[in-house]
């Protein structure tokens, strides 16, 4: 695979269909046998697989952040909590499913979406702290600023957290995590570990 050369935008000519094959992000126009780009990105040429009959290299357009995974309603995301306030917690979405995102997405976990039972008695400070890694599900695209996330299921919630002494805590129950250095117990909404 050769190094990427230049940035191309949709509609740019990538080459002739007689020399190249259209890969991801490119298409061949049948009327004049030219390959055009259909996405924005870097133009990459891949050598043809030796086993095939077709000896043309493949040209594809990849590498732009718009091609990264995007959270969709219903997808499970991993996020890091950035700020905990009285009725909401903000989180930076890091992974959508198994893939990490290429650009910054912000999510909000509202007080009523933290757990399924007794939602008006939720104390945000006893469920999340700044710096916790949480597994959440995307409820909706939310407003212009952030996605709406929910941790209201057994397998959702805090996956990893650091205690005030600086050690990674061990989950004890669905509400408690313990620091291995000092033995102090801190309250979080803990995700159930499913093997």
């Amino acid at each position: 695979m050769e190094e990427a050369d230049e940035m191309v935008t949709p509609g740019e000519v990538l080459g002739k269909a007689t020399d190249l094959k259209a890969g991801k992000g490119a298409y061949a126009a049948s009327h004049n046998n030219t390959i055009y780009a259909s996405l924005t990105g870097f133009r990459r040429i891949q050598a043809p697989p030796p086993a095939s009959n077709d000896k043309r290299p493949t040209v594809e357009v990849t590498g732009h952040k718009a091609h990264g995974p995007v959270p969709e309603p219903g997808s499970v995301v991993i996020a890091r909590v950035t700020k905990v306030m009285a009725r909401t917690a903000s989180a930076d979405i890091m992974c959508v499913g198994p893939k990490s995102v290429r650009e910054k997405f912000t999510g909000i976990i509202r007080q009523q979406d933290v757990r399924a039972t007794e939602i008006d008695k939720v104390d945000m400070h006893l469920s999340f702290r700044s710096g916790d890694i949480v597994r959440a599900v995307v409820l909706s695209l939310g407003d212009a600023r952030a996605y709406y996330l929910s941790t209201a299921k057994n397998e959702l919630g805090v996956v990893s957290a650091e205690s005030s002494a600086g050690a990674t805590m061990v989950p004890i129950s669905w509400t408690e995590m313990q620091c291995p250095l000092t033995g102090q117990i801190e309250l979080r909404k803990v995700a159930k570990v499913v093997n």
Binding site: V84, M85, A86, H125, S130, A165, L181, T182
Partner: protein, 240 residues
């Protein structure tokens, strides 16, 4: 370098410590429960100081560090003096001399409903109670006591407010009454509100009295009890 770690905690109690001093060694005190107050931190078996100040001990098992700063760190159930900075839909933003603004919910008053929300101008001085104070979150304040009654909380009218250190505020609120306040109270009549965040409000019939009280309190920080009484007598002699 010799590591001078004392095994008996009594040696550090009531003496000055600086951040990093190991004040207690838990490995030598087995099967005891001790309570750590502010300014102390646990690192496995060693308790070390995080603030500069005096280590205090109260029976049966409480240790804490007493220090005096200009900056206030909010604590639950503290009574403080706050200044209104802004008002939003659900709460007033209050400056409490701390790392973050305090939020005073619009309904946190005795008999407070959506229909009779008080209107505070920017700059109003309020006597408040801290309800929630978690690190990283803005502290939540209230103008009622724990049972919902007004109990002296709310706006303070007239008078004069000045700033002090947190240590002096605690001394003014200690019981038995601080010597400087007792000495002033014998000769003058005035009203005073002390906030644990380092703010004091004084009100009296004449401005002269207010100025004398304020100066006496500000001077009394580094004086002992007897010296405070002498200082107050000196000030009062000059105005009479």
């Amino acid at each position: 370098m010799e590591n001078k770690q004392s095994s008996s905690p009594a040696s550090f109690v009531d003496s000055t410590v600086v951040p990093g001093d190991v004040v207690l060694d838990l490995s030598s005190m087995t099967s005891q429960t001790i309570k750590l107050g502010g300014g102390l931190r646990q690192d496995c078996d060693a308790i070390s100081a995080m603030k500069a100040g005096t280590l205090r001990f109260s029976k049966p098992n409480k240790y804490w560090i007493e220090s005096s700063q200009k900056r206030y760190v909010p604590c639950v159930e503290d009574t403080i003096l706050g200044i209104v900075v802004d008002s939003k839909a659900d709460n007033f933003l209050i400056d409490i001399k701390g790392p973050a603004m305090g939020f005073l919910p619009v309904l946190a008053f005795e008999g407070g409903t959506r229909r009779n929300i008080p209107k505070f101008e920017v700059g109003t001085l309020l006597y408040l109670r801290v309800v929630k104070a978690n690190s990283g979150m803005n502290p939540e304040l209230s103008c009622t006591d724990a049972s919902g009654k007004a109990a002296e909380f709310g706006p303070l009218k007239d008078g004069y407010m000045f700033e002090t250190s947190t240590g002096l505020s605690r001394k003014l609120l200690s019981s038995p009454t601080c010597p400087v306040l007792e000495a002033l109270g014998k000769k003058l009549s005035f009203e005073i509100a002390v906030g644990l965040n380092g703010r004091v409000w004084v009100n009296a019939a004449s401005p002269d009295t207010i100025v004398v009280v304020a100066n006496a309190i500000m001077n009394s920080e580094s004086l002992s009890g007897a010296q405070q009484i002498i200082m107050v007598d000196h000030l009062l002699k000059n105005i009479q």
